[in-house]
Symmetry: C2
Subunit: 283 residues, 2 copies
């Protein structure tokens, strides 16, 4: 693998570039972005070696697409049109159904591998890229059987080399479960931040009182709306379903408080403490 094209050079694209280059200093990382300023920043940060444009993709051994998922759905067919017969295209989007669907009948479908590295942070843009982001993290690969075997092998070796565990799943299962364990957390966090900011708008120094617990629960409210709006749009059905369940649980908790049923409140918490075991090893 010699010529790698990163479409999107932010947190995920940039971090992948750092690790891949570290493992193989001979690769040339070409950056592609709608905004030249982003490419200049990525160059300055040495995330990429060169700036490139879409037409250059014909020279790619590997194309990594790490842009908002609505942009991926729009761009992916064109990228597959452009890539050579031996070129591999992967995406890193947080939704998989729409992305897989848009290329299901593409003549170069076998050059594409759909994946989702579970390794974000709440930061975004080239300056958020860090080395070692993927060590020990899970990379969910969808519809692996639709990718040419040789390109599968190439991709899986590359991601194993940067420390990722691979997990296979179909796009529907991915989108459903990721709504539960990732997308909902973002909404809970954004709305928690909004609720408290609304209440304390005129008393900013109140946040002196906030401890690490508050910081932890609202951390995800720093996430990029550009990235997250299309995720919620594409995964609307699953997200609404789990959000409704969450709201109902909160309403139930409030009703228990209103009824002074603190024994039930205790049990709600006690039964959820079991999350300790579940979280072991996630960090």
């Amino acid at each position: 693998m010699k010529n790698i094209y990163a479409i999107g050079v932010g947190l995920i694209g940039g971090s992948l570039a750092i690790d891949i280059k570290k493992n193989d200093p001979n690769v040339i990382i070409h950056g592609i972005s709608r905004k030249d300023a982003t490419l200049e920043e990525a160059l300055a940060l040495k995330l990429i070696d060169k700036k490139a444009s879409l037409e250059d993709i014909k020279n790619a051994d590997l194309v990594i697409i790490s842009i908002p998922v609505d942009a991926t759905v729009k761009l992916l067919p064109t990228v597959l049109d452009l890539v050579s017969d031996t070129g591999l295209v992967v995406d890193a989007g947080s939704t998989k159904v729409d992305i897989c669907k848009v290329v299901e009948n593409h003549p170069k479908r076998r050059n594409f591998l759909a994946m989702h590295p579970i390794a974000g942070t709440e930061h975004s843009g080239p300056s958020a890229a860090i080395g070692g982001l993927f060590v020990g993290k899970t990379n969910i690969v969808c519809e692996v059987e639709k990718t040419t075997f040789k390109l599968q092998e190439k991709a899986l070796k590359l991601f194993a080399d940067i420390g990722m565990r691979i997990r296979y799943m179909n796009p529907e299962a991915h989108d459903k479960h990721i709504a539960y364990v990732s997308h909902l957390s973002h909404i809970s966090s954004f709305m928690l931040g909004k609720t408290v900011i609304d209440k304390e708008r005129n008393e900013r120094d109140i946040f002196d009182m906030a401890g690490s617990g508050f910081a932890s629960t609202v951390r995800l409210a720093k996430s990029s709306p550009e990235m997250w709006t299309p995720i919620f749009k594409q995964n609307k059905t699953n997200v609404i379903e789990i959000l409704e369940a969450y709201i109902n649980n909160l309403i139930h908790f409030k009703e228990l408080m209103e009824q002074d049923d603190f024994e039930a409140i205790f049990n709600e918490m006690k039964n959820t403490n079991y999350i300790k075991d579940i979280l072991k090893g996630i960090s």
Copy 2:
């Protein structure tokens, strides 16, 4: 200060004991707990030097009460009955109205300082105690004017010496604002954990898909129900008010999704991103 009595030797009591002893190795930390096993654990961990019982409090220079807030309300008048005229009693509870109220007419009210060190973690018990927990953290002191000046001075020096910033507030303001920036986060986290566990009860390995974002938002769901149930009970009115606002924001978000108003969804998130600036410095 020579004889310090820690009533409750868990996360907060134990961590205070570690730091105080480190700053002045001559103090003797006496531990008091309902459960002898807890005291034995605290002794083994060297959090305390000796086991003691309530009657010994007459010998105390300082009594630190770090037990669930319902137990504090019950015990505090007795502790003040027992303490000598020069002894100082402080509590570390997450609510302040009921605690201050129960001793407002106590003849030894001036021997008591109500405080709330904002420095918890989601862990509990003696094994959760750590050195340096309070460095750079805020200690909220309520009704400082009701404490004898000399004992105020003593207490404030002690807490400054372990690295805390002091903030003064009345109990009503404390309970209101802490509902916003701490108590609500615990409910959002517990119910998030519950919602996802309920959905995924039969598919445990789905949690492989959870990343650090999920871990961060459900971290507080590991907290002790024994500690948190009485907090919600004592701060019921404030907690219900902010919980209702949170639920309404979540319902609004869900409705925007149902209406496909993703421009509004984007703006909801964009406006909340401002939490970045607010959180600077909280960690």
